[in-house]
């Protein structure tokens, strides 16, 4: 009675669907399980996707009406104190023309559904509203299928791909991955704020269909290691602010309050003025980076996407790494099936392929970054405060000479943070991303 598949995939997010699509294209019998009522149902908010990665799976994604919200033409980075902040932004005509859809915002609920639809067209079976509760294993511990929460809910598969996200109950339960430490995950809260399309165009100084991303560091996370982002969707803004879970716990800060303060910040408030909050959600992010990546393959199984902690905390790149890892997993699986061996050794190529890809290279490059942020809390308190006060002083016209001002600023900085410490911080920061 139990049906047999060549591959069972847990999770119909970017990682799972990329893999399903690649496998189905090769004529491999694949089933995908999604616990939401439809793909993306558990992922209501917006996010940024990258054209390069999506095109690997769906080369003609624009023609196939990928539900793009806005093509990103400008990236901003803000460094904020409580009352103000610095803004660095970059815009290039190239992002409107040749590099159009280099990055774009999507509503995940719509995007995931669209993406899964393409995999289904290729022959993948996407089973929604079904939670995978456990893995089936033979006497030797080899994974042989999945167990779902439905009656007669077992399915056997020669390979199982675990791609059910950062708080993968499955990866943790099956012991393939340790429960992430509070230090290695961030808790982010997101709010979607509805605004008329033209208002967004005006406030962000973009043409219709074009958008902006803002990545924000500073005092907004109340001294905790964290970041905030603002993304423009077609007629809404995604506001997201998150902080390291350990910091949140030890500071007993409520994420929701942090979001409210963020929304009231003088650089944020005018952007969202008169907007209507539509959705609010909390979300985990894998932040540990390279050093927290579990053993991502074994006898009869692979792990992809955020289930495998594949997430670039610095650049907020989760979904593209998920897609890349899903595709690489599919390649490995296809090879293993062709060899007729889906054991650990036969699947080891996945880890190698990941190591050779930008995914691991980037994660390795930034492997110390998380630690760096955690160990230098002045980045989220003293530094933005000092920077802002210095800038404010320099820009205030009050009859005091600039030279005098510089001296007083220098004195103040030295009083707040020893120069040696500042130099070490800069050095460590550069190394952590270097």
């Amino acid at each position: 009675m139990r049906e047999e598949f060549e591959v069972a995939i847990v999770g119909a997010g970017p990682a799972g669907i990329s893999a399903a699509l690649a496998l189905a294209e090769k004529g491999i019998k694949v089933i995908v399980f999604e616990r939401g009522e439809f793909p993306g149902a558990k992922n209501v908010s917006g996010g940024v996707l990258y054209g390069h990665d999506l095109a690997e799976s769906v080369p003609d994604f624009i023609r196939r009406e990928c539900p793009v919200e806005r093509n990103i033409v400008e990236s901003r980075v803000w460094y904020l104190s409580l009352d103000g902040g610095f803004n660095v932004s970059f815009r290039d005509r190239a992002f409107e023309e040749g590099l159009s859809f280099n990055a774009f915002t999507v509503g995940r609920a719509r995007f995931d559904r669209w993406f899964a639809g393409i995999a289904e067209e290729k022959g993948a079976l996407v089973v929604c509203g079904t939670t995978v509760t456990d893995l089936l294993r033979d006497g030797g511990g080899r994974v042989t299928g999945v167990r779902t929460d439905r009656s007669d809910g077992d399915v056997t598969a020669r390979v199982v791909l675990i791609a059910d996200g950062v708080n993968s109950a499955l990866a943790a339960k099956t012991g393939f991955r340790a429960e992430p430490e509070p230090n290695d995950v961030a808790l982010a809260v997101k709010e979607i704020i509805e605004l008329p399309e033209e208002v967004i165009n005006e406030r962000f100084n973009v043409e219709a269909g074009h958008g902006v991303t803002i990545e924000i560091l500073g005092e907004i996370t109340q001294g905790m290691d964290g970041v905030a982002v603002i993304y423009t969707n077609k007629n809404s803004l995604s506001l997201c602010i998150g902080a390291n879970l350990f910091d949140l716990m030890s500071n007993t800060v409520r994420p929701y309050e942090m979001l409210e303060e963020f929304k009231a910040h003088p650089m944020v408030a005018p952007l969202i003025k008169s907007g209507r909050p539509r959705e609010y959600m909390a979300h985990w992010l894998a932040e540990g980076g390279y050093d927290t990546i579990p053993h991502i393959y074994g006898d009869g199984y692979l792990i992809a996407g955020e289930s495998g902690m594949l997430f670039n905390a610095l650049h907020r790149e989760g979904s593209n790494m998920a897609m890349a890892s899903g595709r690489l997993a599919a390649l490995t699986i296809a090879g293993a099936l062709a060899r007729g061996d889906t054991g650990s050794e036969s699947l080891a190529g996945y880890a190698a392929a990941l190591q050779a890809s930008y995914v691991m290279k980037d994660l390795k490059k930034y492997r110390r970054f998380n630690r760096f942020l955690l160990n230098h809390k002045e980045l989220f308190s003293t530094l933005p405060r000092l920077g802002a006060s210095a800038a404010r002083e320099m820009l205030t016209v009050d009859g005091i000479s600039k030279k005098e001002k510089q001296t007083s600023i220098r004195r103040r900085i030295q009083g707040a943070i020893p120069l040696a410490r500042l130099a070490r911080l800069l050095w460590a920061g550069a190394r952590s991303i270097g």
Partner: protein, 418 residues
């Protein structure tokens, strides 16, 4: 008006107005509407020109000229200009149980009288049942001009096919241009049967009736989508125009003793075949299951914050005082504090009592749509910003435990003075 290659007059979206709500796409019977670029787009080749999108669009972003299937009623030689000249009168089906007419029947009798006067015609009572006592006389007293009765032992209790046959026969004989019934369990069942038999249009559960005098059309307004929108419906090419109306929507007609009129009796020609047999009637003794809070003239509605066991006697006392029952909002039911039958709101019961007394009800939209037809809404809430105050005729900010006893006391005094 754009046409497609099949010559159908199709609808089109006015992109500037479209807000991308997708109501039309959900409503389109042929799936001709897709979203692209955040606005709806109608594929003209798929569109059948039914105009549903035009009807449902909340922002008038659909251009469409509503057109009847037969926009010019085809004149058949030899048939007089007015196709419906043989139909006359506004009829009400009088629902009788154990010799007692349902209150809604008299509400409709009053309305039928009003509508008939506007059309320059008569109000008619149709009665089917057994042991009807004085119901025919009552119908005349409540404002009907004539009464048509089938009284037969077979009609002792309600069975769809028997009653359906009797009322269909009455309708075919009397030929009213309008036929109204109460939207009770019985009335809704019977109206469907009769409408199917005489092949005419039926609009269920109306909350408003009006007349287009020129075209002699009954304009029937009813809630749809769980009370979120109202639709006005008409029936142009079929007679009678049938409607069921929720109890309590209209006031009973004025009863005047001594009014007279013709009472016609007809024999019953029962349908052939075996009829079902009612083995037993189980009255609702619990007072819970089947309790219809919609039938009470006053409701004291409690929110979750005001639904503690200690305060219930006090709440009940207030309800008794104003001649009503205690109802509640959805969170109360979800918390298991009251049964579903008592729930007011979109997912509960739609009510329109004379007095709606809210205590600790915040007034979520889903609740408001289920009670905004109430004649007088008063609210007590400790939160000055509670949305319920935006809809109430009178509000009182305060802790219900403090103020409700004062309200009861004050109300008693005010009434005893009268």
């Amino acid at each position: 008006m754009p046409q497609n290659s099949k010559g159908i007059d199709v609808a089109a979206i006015i992109p500037d107005r479209c807000i991308g709500c997708q109501i039309c796409a959900g409503e389109c019977p042929v799936g001709a509407i897709e979203m692209s670029g955040g606005v709806a787009h109608i594929d003209p080749e798929v569109c059948i020109g039914c105009g549903k999108c035009f009807e449902v669009c909340p922002v008038e972003a659909v251009s469409f000229e509503p057109k009847r299937p037969q926009e010019t009623p085809q004149r058949i030689p030899g048939v007089p200009e007015d196709r419906f000249s043989e139909y006359r009168g506004v009829a009400v089906f009088i629902e009788v149980t154990h010799g007692q007419a349902a209150p809604v029947s008299w509400e409709l009798a009053g309305k039928a009288r009003e509508l008939s006067r506007r059309l320059g015609t008569v109000a008619i009572a149709l009665i089917a049942g057994h042991e009807l006592k004085d119901v025919a006389t009552e119908a005349l007293e409540y404002g009907c001009d004539e009464v048509h009765v089938i009284d037969d032992a077979l009609l002792g209790s309600y069975l769809s096919r028997l009653y359906g046959k009797a009322v269909t026969d009455l309708t075919n004989t009397v030929k009213p241009e309008i036929l109204l019934m109460g939207a009770t369990a019985l009335g809704r069942d019977l109206a469907s049967v009769v409408a199917t038999n005489v092949e005419t249009g039926l609009t269920a559960d109306c909350t408003g009736l009006d007349i287009d005098e020129e075209k002699r059309l009954l304009l029937m307004t009813r809630p749809a989508f769980g009370g979120n929108i109202m639709a006005t419906i008409f029936c142009e090419n079929h007679r009678p125009q049938m409607s069921t109306v929720r109890p309590g929507v209209f006031r009973p007609g004025e009863r005047k003793a001594g009014r007279t009129g013709a009472v016609h009796h007809y024999p019953f020609a029962p349908p052939v075949g075996e009829m079902p047999e009612i083995l037993e009637f189980v009255r609702d003794n619990t007072g819970e299951t089947g309790l219809d809070i919609g039938r009470f003239p006053a409701l004291v509605v409690v929110g979750k914050g005001a639904c503690d066991p200690e305060s219930m006697p006090m709440i009940q006392e207030l309800a008794d005082l104003i001649g009503g029952v205690v109802a509640c909002s959805r969170p109360v039911v979800e918390a298991g504090l009251m049964p579903y039958e008592r729930q007011v709101g979109q997912t509960g019961k739609t009510v329109a009592p004379k007095l709606y007394f809210a205590i600790g009800v915040s007034g979520a939209v889903q609740h408001l749509v289920g009670m905004q037809g109430s004649r007088r809404i008063v609210a007590i809430n400790s939160d000055p910003h509670a949305p319920i105050f935006g809809i109430s005729d009178t509000g009182l900010i305060g802790d219900y435990r403090d103020v409700v006893p004062l309200v009861i006391k004050g109300l008693r005094e005010a009434v005893s003075k009268r």
